[in-house]
């Protein structure tokens, strides 16, 4: 600083020796099309302004033209690494507005997939975050196990990335045969891989020096900006909607809410890693609670489709099928906000219905949007490399940010 002041004394015009550099929108480690306008003094960041909108696809407008059941497919695409929790927030919001009773088994299955999706999402984060730091192999190891989870999702929902498996009223289909065994296999196998991941990062001085004390995000900032999820829990705040506003009978499960108090990238890192272990615990408990086959959606035919054999022979069932798929079900007038704990924080939907079969207003409160807003604070005064760490450690998802 001293030299800068000296220079300023000589020629005030020369004080600004900063360089503006566009990190993104096409950049290997912005995880999508994020653009950060960095003002650099050498390699030190003077200012970091995220510029978003490159992935804006107008989901909120599109949703207003779709029926509630169709909207589900849009929620998949918000945070496409954790589609199931998006689905969940949306269907819970609609169910709350319509006051539908969903079979308990379906709710448990929702818990199961929410947690699987959380593990998958955290695995992607772990892999990419460490890859941003320069270590390559962990990414592939993480992908390997994520693949197993995606296979599980595929077995149940039919696709891997955008399942739309949860529907208003329950699930789209029942669990496939042998699903429990597959999940058990995964649970049996996965801890070994967790050890592998930890072996690569635990205590590694190169990783530690990249994370410890970097991109500080304190609790007040979290309050100010509405930062939620692991980022907030890394400030020592044990807030978790699964515990605090339990949905889908989450209060019946035993799990801890991992927290750290250092507020830095290192704390966030370990909160997430520990969350994976907690999710595994929940998955293990769910498996004990649900039967392999059974009720998977409400039998209220004004909401969920009639069984296929009825459609072929029963006039009433055919009419209900016809109306449900072409017009959708009407949702009573009103507004509701329903949030769930997604892997990235509070994933909420604010829905306004005018009584019709399509949402009047469909607002997704996507966690990454609010988390990314803290970018100028957490990236300030770091190095260029710390900006990368910051982006990785707040775990943003551009589909989530840009909607």
């Amino acid at each position: 600083m001293a030299t800068k002041e000296m220079r300023a004394e000589r020629d005030p015009a020369l004080t600004d020796e900063t360089m503006v550099i566009n990190l993104g929108p096409q950049h290997p480690s912005t995880h999508g099309v994020l653009r950060v306008r960095l003002t650099l003094d050498g390699e030190r960041v003077v200012k970091a302004e995220p510029v978003i909108g490159y992935l804006h696809t107008g989901f909120e407008k599109t949703a207003e033209t779709l029926t509630y059941q169709q909207c589900n497919t849009i929620t998949d695409r918000l945070d496409y690494l954790a589609p199931m929790t998006n689905n969940l927030a949306f269907v819970l919001a609609v169910e709350r507005m319509m006051d539908i009773e969903v079979p308990k088994r379906a709710q448990y299955v929702r818990v199961l997939f929410s947690e699987l999706t959380r593990v998958a999402s955290h695995l992607v984060w772990l892999g990419t975050h460490v890859m941003d730091l320069g270590a390559m192999s962990l990414f592939f190891y993480c992908m390997r196990e994520r693949e197993v989870i995606l296979d599980l999702i595929e077995a149940a929902a039919g696709v891997r990335m955008n399942p739309s498996y949860f529907r208003v009223g329950g699930l789209a289909y029942d669990l496939p045969e042998g699903f429990h065994e597959k999940v058990r296999d995964f649970l049996k196998d996965f801890p070994r891989w967790m050890t592998t991941y930890r072996n690569l990062v635990d205590g590694n001085p190169l990783i530690n020096e990249r994370l410890v004390g970097i991109s500080l995000l304190d609790r007040q900032t979290c309050y100010q900006y509405g930062v939620t999820g692991p980022n907030m829990r890394a400030t020592g705040l044990a807030l978790d909607l699964r515990k605090d506003e339990p949905y889908c009978y989450y209060d019946e499960f035993e799990f801890a809410v991992p927290t750290r108090t250092q507020c830095d990238a290192y704390a966030r890192f370990w909160v997430r890693v520990e969350e994976i272990y907690e999710s595994m615990k929940i998955i293990d408990q769910v498996l004990g609670k649900i039967s392999p086959q059974g009720e998977y959606a409400t039998t209220d035919r004004k909401v969920s489709l009639p069984p296929r054999d009825e459609i072929y022979g029963n006039m009433e069932a055919l009419i209900h099928q016809f109306k449900l798929v072409t017009a959708g079900f009407p949702v009573p007038q009103g507004e509701v906000y329903q949030a769930v704990e997604g892997p990235r924080g509070e994933m909420g939907f604010y829905l306004v219905s005018d009584g019709g079969p399509k949402p009047y207003r469909w607002r997704a409160r996507t966690p990454s949007y609010y988390n990314l807003q803290t970018m100028p604070i957490i990236a300030k005064d770091g190095l260029v490399a710390d900006v990368i760490t910051a982006i990785g450690s707040i775990d943003i998802m551009l589909g989530d940010v840009d909607k």
């Binding site: 009825e310 055919l318 009419i319 209900h320 109306k323 072409t326």
Partner: protein
């Protein structure tokens, strides 16, 4: 007034109101199939069950009249159960047709079952088989299996239209709706049963399998087939209009349409439609036509001055387009030779003040020349509704042919062709002869009309408190009489509705054109005299539309550059230097005006075909060629500042002048009588072909005998060396010595001859069409 409570809401309604209507006023939806406000209560479908306190059983809301202090529940366990039961019964024999049924998605049976019905039916027995896809006529299909026997269609045809061509046949589960003796329904209102049918039993044949509610675009439109201006919903799919439906407007229209308007939408894809522009009927030159017209324009303006360019505006353009053309002609060209294509009787607008409400309010209705059933069909329904209502009404007619028919009782005073003005004038002078305006008419006594008829007419005209007149506009002198009549009747309401179409000229007045009768005639005479170098017609086929074909022909031959812009190929393409395709109704947004002078907005549901463009794009191109600025005033709004949608007519005063005695011609020939026929209004339609009269001419049985025609035949009409051939049919209602030929038919252009006496001879050959 009666106070009652429906679902905890109190309402006060008139005595005799049904619960269903009272609930509807509160915005409470009561499901019902059979009830329609225009048709009255029946109670056939039992769908509208409601609970009424102190009544032991559920009551049908559509047949139960309100009573003071009534407490009605439209939901609750009993009501739900009742509705579930009714729906389950309705669906016992309903086929599993939703996927193949055209009504799917717009079907009340589906809607109510989804809203109120059981999720699953308990009946597993085989369903009763009935006729599927049977025809009612060329346009309407019936699927008897789907019918819920609400009888709306039967009652509509029987009671409302007065043409009982549908009936209920059979007993019990075998009951079906069918046509009388299996004869196809001929009523020109048959299409309305499609709109009326709450389920998928009656379906439009041309629309069959064409679209679904989710893949079509339905836009509010206006029917431009005749001057009634029915409000419609146009359904577009994949760039074509595939369906027209009636659009009810509260307090104004039930949304009935005639079959002409409902099924005549395929003109847009007709092979005679102009879709590319031509130079001298030469398709090769299509690409540069618009530019070439601009060059002509610039040459003419340079060599002969702007005033040698004349612009004629036709009726199928929107008022906004007329405004643009007017602005272009005035500001860019600078010509004063502007005209509207129809021979608008410029002296009457002051009194053309009627609305459809005047039909409902009138105590006397006078038809001058016009046959509403043929020319303005939906007005016929209005007349019939008026006649059926409790208050008495007299429907009189002064026309050269009998206008009474089974469905409408009209007391016709049959005159000679062209004699209507004289008859009316004389009747007027009989009763109100002292009034200066009537004196000015100087009417003379007509020949061949019974005195007592004249006296009766005179009395009716004088004594009526609310007189509504429908006028076909064929004889200009009638305007003078009507003006005098309105003047003489003073404070008593005299309402006149013009039934000639297209009626957009009234909007063109607002757009800047002057509604002056002589303008077009003098323009054509100027053209014949060689004073005009360039004539541009927008949406007007003068050769077909103008009353004097010879004048038009001679004028067009004289003008070096004739530019035609229109929907269809002109009658004689060789007369036109350039032809440009027009974007027609349903393809442009804009405002149309109906015979009430009401402004009606239409939204396009499809885009124009081929090279057809809105007029604005041509004007812009020409202005570019002329190197002059042209800014189309897109913000111009025909509604003006006031929100009323009826055009005021303040600018032009009614004129009364002395009547000339009519030229009734020599006694040797027959009298040519003509009139508008909506089915033959010059707009082609493939769908409607079965409906188009093969023998449009009509003669009396006596004349047929003289000419040796049995049933149908072909005659030649001649006058002053000009002749047309007309296939004729024998019509009991024709008066001997008269032959009726519809207006505006391309195959027998009656404007080649003009009205009055013609020589008639039978031709041996029978036309093959």
């Amino acid at each position: 007034m009666i106070r009652l409570t429906i679902d905890d809401q109190e309402i006060e309604v008139r005595e005799g109101t049904m619960i269903a209507d009272a609930a509807a006023r509160l915005g409470i939806d009561i499901p019902v199939y059979c009830y329609h406000e225009a048709l009255g209560p029946l109670g056939a479908c039992r769908m509208c069950l409601v609970g009424v306190e102190k009544m032991p059983k559920l009551a049908t809301a559509c047949t139960t009249a309100v009573q003071d202090g009534m407490v009605v529940h439209t939901y609750g366990e009993a009501v739900d159960k009742g509705r579930k039961g009714v729906l389950e019964f309705l669906l016992i024999n309903h086929p599993l047709d939703c996927p193949v049924c055209d009504k799917g998605g717009e079907c009340f049976l589906q809607d109510y079952t989804f809203q109120y019905g059981p999720p699953k039916g308990r009946f597993k027995e085989p369903k009763i088989q009935k006729v599927k896809d049977g025809p009612i006529n060329e346009f309407v299909l019936i699927d008897q299996e789907r019918c819920v026997l609400c009888q709306r269609c039967v009652r509509f045809m029987d009671e409302y239209v007065g043409e009982p061509q549908l009936l209920l046949d059979g007993r019990g589960v075998e009951t079906v709706v069918t046509t009388v003796d299996g004869v196809p329904a001929t009523s020109q209102f048959s299409g309305n049963v499609i709109d009326l049918c709450p389920v998928g039993a009656l379906l439009s044949a041309p629309y069959q399998h064409k679209g679904r509610p989710w893949n079509i675009e339905r836009q509010e439109s206006v029917c431009t087939m005749c001057p009634v201006g029915c409000t419609t919903l146009a359904t577009g799919r994949d760039g074509h209009i595939v369906r027209i439906e009636g659009r009810p407007v509260p307090d104004r229209s039930w949304g009935w349409l005639c079959d002409r308007g409902r099924f005549g939408y395929d003109y847009a894809t007709d092979p005679t439609r102009l879709t590319i522009s031509f130079l001298h009927a030469n398709p090769e030159a299509a690409a540069r036509t618009t530019r070439q017209v601009g060059h002509w324009m610039s040459d003419v303006m340079r060599d002969a001055g702007p005033d040698s360019i004349a612009v004629v505006m036709g009726g199928l353009h929107t008022v906004e387009e007329a405004h643009q053309v007017h602005a272009f002609a005035k500001n860019v060209i600078g010509t004063s030779r502007l005209s509207i294509s129809r021979d608008v009787p410029g002296y009457v607008p002051r009194v053309l003040n009627g609305t459809y409400a005047d039909i409902a309010d009138a105590d006397t209705i006078l038809l001058v020349g016009v046959d509403p059933y043929e020319a303005v069909p939906v007005v016929h329904l209005k007349l019939r509704e008026r006649q059926k209502s409790k208050r008495p009404v007299k429907i009189l007619a002064v026309a050269p042919r009998d206008l009474s028919r089974d469905s409408l009782d009209v007391n016709t005073l049959i005159t000679h062709a062209g004699q209507e003005a004289q008859v009316l004038g004389w009747a007027l002078s009989q009763g109100m002869g002292t009034h200066p305006a009537v004196k000015k008419l100087a009417a003379t006594a007509p020949v061949g009309v019974a005195d007592e008829d004249l006296t009766a007419l005179s009395e009716a005209l004088g004594s009526s408190e609310h007189l509504t007149i429908l006028w076909d506009g064929l004889q200009n002198e009638v305007g003078s009489v009507l003006a005098a009549l309105a003047d003489a009747r003073g404070e008593k309401a005299t309402r006149i509705l013009p039934t000639w179409g297209p009626s957009n000229w009234r909007g063109f007045e607002r757009a800047g054109f002057s509604a002056d009768f002589d303008a077009l005639t003098s323009l054509l005479e100027d053209a014949r005299a060689g004073k005009i170098q360039m004539l541009m017609t927008f949406g007007a086929d003068l050769l077909r539309e103008y009353p004097d074909e010879r004048l038009v022909r001679e004028a067009l031959q004289k003008v070096p550059h004739v530019v035609f812009e229109g929907l269809f190929r002109p009658t004689e393409p060789s007369l036109y230097g350039a032809q440009l395709p027009q974007a027609g109704p349903g393809e442009v947004a804009g405002t149309y005006v109906n015979m009430e002078a009401r402004l009606l907005s239409a939204t396009p549901s499809v885009t124009p075909p081929g090279q057809a463009r809105p007029v604005k794009s041509y004007l812009t191109a020409w202005a570019h060629a002329l190197n002059k600025p042209f800014v189309a005033d897109d913000d111009w709004d025909p509604y003006g500042d006031d929100t009323a949608d009826l055009l005021p007519f303040d600018g032009i005063q009614a004129k009364v002048w002395a009547l000339k005695p009519p030229n009734l011609g020599n006694a040797s020939g027959m009298e040519l009588v003509t009139g508008a026929l909506v089915i033959e209004n010059g707009i082609p339609s493939h769908i409607l072909e079965p409906r188009a009269p093969k023998f449009p001419g009509r003669i009396s049985p006596q004349d047929a005998e003289i000419l040796g025609i049995v049933g149908q035949g072909l005659v030649r009409l001649g006058k002053d060396g000009r002749e047309i051939r007309v296939p004729v049919t024998v019509d009991e209602r024709m008066t001997p010595g008269r032959i009726f030929v519809p207006l505006g038919m391309a195959s027998c252009p009656v404007n080649r001859l003009g009205l009055g006496a013609v020589e008639v001879a039978r031709l041996e050959e029978v036309p093959t069409t």
